[in-house]
C-alpha cells in the first residue's frame, strides 16, 4: 500500500481527525441528553471543542516523585490505540473487501489499550487516589473482557470468519436470537469499557475526586479526555459493524441514514443508562460480569451453535 495514503487514512479519514471530531460531537450529544434528562439547557454545541483547546493551553503539572516518562506517555498510548482501532473498523465498514484476516481480534486488543493506558498513567502519578482508581480500572478490565469477547464470538460463529469484512458481508447477527442476547451483553460491557455510570468506579468523582486522572492536568488530561471521546465513538461503531450489520454505503442515502441511526441509537441508550443508574461497587461489578453477563454470553454462544 502507498504510505502517503496510509498516513492520510490514519491521521485524517477515518483515523485521528475524523474520529476526534465525531467523538467530540458525540460527547456533546451525551452532555446535551444528560441535560435534557435533568431538565436543563445544557452546554453549547462547541463546548467539547473549547474544553479540549483549553486543556491544550494549560500548564502541565508533573507530581514530584512520579515516573515522568510513563506519566506523560500513557495518554499517547491510549490515543494511538483508539486511532488505530477506529481506522481498522472504518476501513472494514467502507471497504469490506480490503479488511484483513483477524482484524476483529486486532480491534479487540486495541480497544482494551486505552483502559490499560489509564491504569499505567494512574500508577505512574504517585497518588493514593489515582492508584486506587487504577486498581479499580484493572479489576474492571479483567471482569468485562471475558463476556465482551464471548459476545463477539457470536458473529464470528455466524459468519465462520474472523474478518470484519466477511462478517459485514453476511446477514447482521442481531437479526437472530443469539445476536440479540450478544448485543445486550456487548452493550453492557461497552458501558463498562467507556467507564460510564454505573461502572465509573475508576473515576468516582465523589470519593476518588477524579480517580485515575487526579494528578493529570493540561495537555495530557486533554488527550485522555479526547481518547474517551474517541472511544465513545469507536465502541458503538464497532458494535454496529460486528453485530448490527454496519452501514450500507451502497444502499444510497437510506442505507447511510439507517447506519447512522443504529449508531445514534446505541449512544442514546448508553447515555440513558448512565443517567438513570447509580454507581455499583467494584466487587458487585466483578460479580455481575463474571456471573450474570458471562452466563448470558454463553447462552448466546449455545444459541448461535444451535443455529438460532
Amino acid at each position: 500500500m502507498n504510505y502517503g495514503i496510509l498516513a492520510l487514512k490514519v491521521l485524517v479519514f477515518p483515523g485521528l481527525l475524523f474520529t476526534a471530531v465525531v467523538g467530540l460531537v458525540t460527547t456533546w450529544i451525551d452532555r446535551k441528553v444528560t441535560a435534557k434528562v435533568q431538565m436543563r439547557v445544557g452546554p453549547p454545541f462547541l463546548q467539547p471543542f473549547y474544553d479540549v483547546i483549553k486543556y491544550m493551553v494549560k500548564e502541565t503539572c508533573i507530581p514530584a516523585g512520579s515516573s515522568k516518562l510513563l506519566f506523560l506517555s500513557a495518554p499517547l498510548v491510549g490515543l494511538a490505540a483508539v486511532t488505530a482501532g477506529s481506522t481498522i473498523v472504518w476501513n472494514a465498514l467502507i471497504w469490506p473487501g480490503r479488511a484483513f484476516v483477524g482484524d476483529l481480534i486486532v480491534v479487540l486488543y486495541l480497544l482494551t489499550m486505552p483502559a490499560i493506558s489509564v491504569v499505567l498513567g494512574s500508577f505512574a502519578s504517585r497518588n493514593p487516589l489515582a492508584s486506587l482508581g487504577g486498581s479499580r480500572e484493572m479489576k474492571l478490565i479483567m471482569s468485562y473482557e471475558l463476556p465482551f469477547v464471548l459476545a463477539c464470538i457470536v458473529p464470528i460463529m455466524k459468519a465462520h470468519s474472523i474478518n470484519l469484512g466477511e462478517i459485514l458481508a453476511g446477514p447482521a447477527a442481531v437479526t437472530s436470537w443469539s445476536g440479540v442476547v450478544a448485543l445486550v451483553v456487548a452493550m453492557i460491557c461497552m458501558q463498562a469499557k467507556l467507564t460510564l455510570v454505573p461502572f465509573d468506579m475508576p473515576e468516582a468523582e465523589t470519593e476518588l475526586t477524579g480517580g485515575a486522572y487526579v494528578e493529570y492536568s493540561g495537555p495530557p488530561l486533554g488527550i485522555f479526555k479526547l481518547t474517551r471521546a474517541m472511544m465513545l465513538f469507536t465502541m458503538p461503531m464497532f458494535l454496529v459493524a460486528v453485530l448490527c450489520g454496519g452501514i450500507a454505503f451502497d444502499g444510497g442515502v437510506v442505507g447511510i441514514v439507517l447506519g447512522v441511526l443504529k449508531y445514534v441509537g446505541l449512544v442514546v441508550v448508553t447515555v440513558l443508562i448512565r443517567n438513570t443508574a447509580p454507581r455499583v461497587r467494584i466487587d458487585q461489578a466483578v460479580k455481575f460480569f463474571w456471573g450474570t453477563m458471562t452466563i448470558a454470553a454463553v447462552v448466546a454462544l449455545v444459541l448461535a451453535y444451535l443455529g438460532w
Partner: protein, 141 residues
C-alpha cells in the same frame, strides 16, 4: 480577543476550596450548579481535583492552618487559574477578622481576581460576578 482566551473563558472547571466556612456560602455555590441555574450553559462544571481546575473558588474565613493549605492548593493548580473569593468571610474575614486564630484575608496570600460579597451571596450574584469576570478577562487580553 484571541482564540486561546476565547477557549479558556468558555470552558471553566471550578474547584471549590472551603476554608472553615459556616457552609452557607457552600450551599449557595451548590445552588448555582443546580439545574435551575444550569451553569453548564456557560461551560462551567465542578471538578474534584485542583489539577483539572481553571477556577479556584474560596469560601469561609481562612484561619492560621487553612491559609497554609489554601496556598499549597493554589501552588498545585495548573496556571493560568482564576481565583474567586465567595462571601464576606473569604473577602474580608467578616466578624471573625479580629479572632486570635484568623490570618489576614486570603487575598493577601493568594492573588484573588474577583470578590463576591454577601452572607451568603445569592446564586444570581455569583453568576453575575463570573459573567463580569469573563468579560474583563476577554477585554484585558
Amino acid at each position: 480577543m484571541s482564540f486561546v482566551v476565547n477557549a479558556l473563558t468558555r470552558s471553566l472547571n471550578v474547584f471549590h476550596l472551603a476554608g472553615s466556612p459556616c457552609n452557607n456560602c457552600d450551599i449557595e455555590i451548590l445552588d448555582a450548579l443546580t439545574p435551575r441555574y444550569d451553569l453548564e450553559r456557560f461551560g462551567i462544571v465542578l471538578v474534584g481535583s485542583v489539577r483539572h481546575a481553571d477556577v479556584l473558588l474560596l469560601s469561609g474565613a481562612f484561619n492560621k492552618k487553612s491559609t497554609i493549605r489554601a496556598k499549597h492548593v493554589y501552588d498545585q493548580a495548573p496556571k493560568p487559574i482564576v481565583v474567586i473569593a465567595v462571601g464576606n468571610c473569604a473577602c474580608t474575614g467578616n466578624i471573625f477578622r479580629d479572632s486570635y486564630n484568623i490570618d489576614p484575608p486570603i487575598g493577601n496570600v493568594i492573588p484573588v481576581d474577583a470578590y463576591i460579597p454577601g452572607c451568603p451571596p445569592k446564586p444570581e450574584a455569583m453568576i453575575s460576578a463570573v459573567a463580569k469576570l469573563i468579560a474583563k478577562l476577554r477585554g484585558s487580553k
